[in-house]
Amino acid sequence: MQTIISTRSIGDQDLHTTTMRSSFGLVKRSLINTRRLPSAFLPSLAMPMFNMIAFSGTFFAITKMPGFPTDRSVNWFMPLGLAMGSAFSGVALGFSLIRDLENGFYDRLRMSPTSRLSLVVGPVIATWIRVTLVAAIVFVAAFLLGARPTSGVLSYICSLIAALGIATIGAGWGLGLAYRFQDMRGAAIMQLSIFVTMFLSTAQVPLDVMTGWLHTVARVSPVTNIFRLARAGWVNESSPDYMSWSNVYGGLLAIVILSALSLTFAMRSLQQIDN
């Protein structure tokens, strides 16, 4: 009887159980690392706080422009800070993967009968947990700096969804590049590409305020939709970008499509290593 059980082929349910168990093992490892190596986590927290504080203060005057969607600069720049922090939290997965590849830990994972899917799912879930923690701290700090939501709890939910979405996209992209390059060459591309993609959108100012080439690029960038989702509950009720299904739908769609693309890129790159 025992022989029959041990030799039967792995069914879908077993595979699912293995994937989930391995994923949660990797989530646990990542969270323990966060506790043991706070220096690796602190930049993810420092970046959104710095962005929010520095941009709100430096560019305070832009809220005085006619038609600007909010009169509080921190309302405008808090979602930017959170988005940047989330993107880099996601990309940081690529850095830690490169470290694992270089120190041999990753080879041990590949030698074990671990589900390949869990090697992507586990770290992404760990990133979601970290981003949620960072978002909670940023929301409190923003409130203390004078940020006030205009759609109640929905404001926070939309910003959090946008942050988690950006983190997922960043994670897929970071993991994919790390699998492809397998050394620190990939790190520079990860940072640069995320940085440029984020800023070629309405990251700093609304479309109406932009001029020239940036307006053309930002108008078609899907990241603009994600920022609209993130800020829907922080702009004035009179703003055309205020909380409504039509204003959040585009952002949700952009997150789903870009996440699917980046995670597929990560899985494909992982398969290349295995081959």
Binding site: A46, M65, W213
Partner: protein
């Protein structure tokens, strides 16, 4: 009497010879640090491209803000932004030079220089000369690349030359401060670790927006921040024309900071030498 005169003469020759040797050594080390920077494009290209990217981004993002109350009279946002772009690029470039000094300490080249009869000050000055030259080059590139897009310099060609000198002095000042960190810690990571601090200083200054448009604590911090004065000196040449006041602010402020920074770096060098 003749012996004393001969001894004085030979003493004078010796001092002259020693000075000439010291100059030659400093020049050789300066050449090395300059070539080292230019032979590693991966180290210098980001400090050229990022500021240009930010300048173009800022011009499109904040182009309409120049009519806001408190904004100085400018032809375009890029004209206002030019000084900030130069300072940003030079700050980041200076970190690269100081990190190279720390690498010399880490890989033992610094010890080999100390074992040889090399001028001690020349080791520091040679390294800083490379950064200073690179700062001048960065300034020239930023001015000439951004000029066709609207970053005009009211002070004309003399103003551009003064800006290049100012950029070189800012690079020398920041390079000396960063070299102090390199000499104190002997760690390239520690030098790179100061990068976020520079980034914060840059953002809490008038590099991207005028102080007059800020309010409350931000305005106070920008007013206390030395980066604001480095930027505003350069900006005066860009906006006010080639006046004595603008030129003095563009040259004398970074020169004063450079003298203080060189003093600190030299003191750190002596401190490291005492440990050997």
């Amino acid at each position: 009497m003749i012996d004393v005169a001969l001894a004085q003469k030979s003493g004078g020759d010796l001092a002259e010879h020693s000075l000439s040797l010291s100059m030659r050594q400093t020049f050789a080390l300066a050449k090395r640090s300059t070539l080292e920077l230019f032979r590693q494009p991966a180290l210098v290209v980001p400090s050229m491209l990022f500021p240009l990217f930010f300048a173009m981004l800022g011009n499109s993002s904040f182009g309409r803000t120049t009519s806001l109350p408190g904004f100085p009279k400018v032809d375009s946002y890029l004209q206002f932004q030019l000084a900030g772009t130069i300072t940003q690029g030079v700050l980041f470039g200076s970190v690269t030079g100081a990190a190279a000094l720390a690498t010399d300490i880490q890989n033992g080249f610094f010890d080999r220089l100390l074992a040889a009869p090399t001028s001690r000050t020349g080791i520091l000055l040679g390294r800083l000369a490379g950064s200073t030259l690179f700062g001048a080059l960065q300034t020239a590139v930023f001015v000439f690349v951004l000029m066709p897009f609207g970053a005009s310099v009211s002070a004309g060609i003399p103003g551009v030359l003064a800006m290049i000198v100012s950029g070189a002095l800012i690079s020398l000042a920041v390079g000396a401060l960063m070299s102090s960190v390199a000499l104190k810690t002997g760690s390239a990571e520690a030098v790179q670790g100061t990068f976020p601090l520079l980034f914060i200083l840059l953002f809490f200054s008038s590099a991207f927006f005028p102080r007059e448009t800020m309010s409350g604590a931000y305005q106070t911090i920008a007013g206390l921040n030395p980066i604001s004065y480095l930027v505003e000196g350069l900006r005066a040449l860009s906006l006010e024309g080639f006046t004595a006041s603008a030129t003095a602010r563009a040259i004398l402020v970074p020169l004063a900071i450079a003298i203080v920074a060189l003093g600190i770096a030299n003191s750190q060098l002596r401190s490291r030498l005492r440990k050997h």
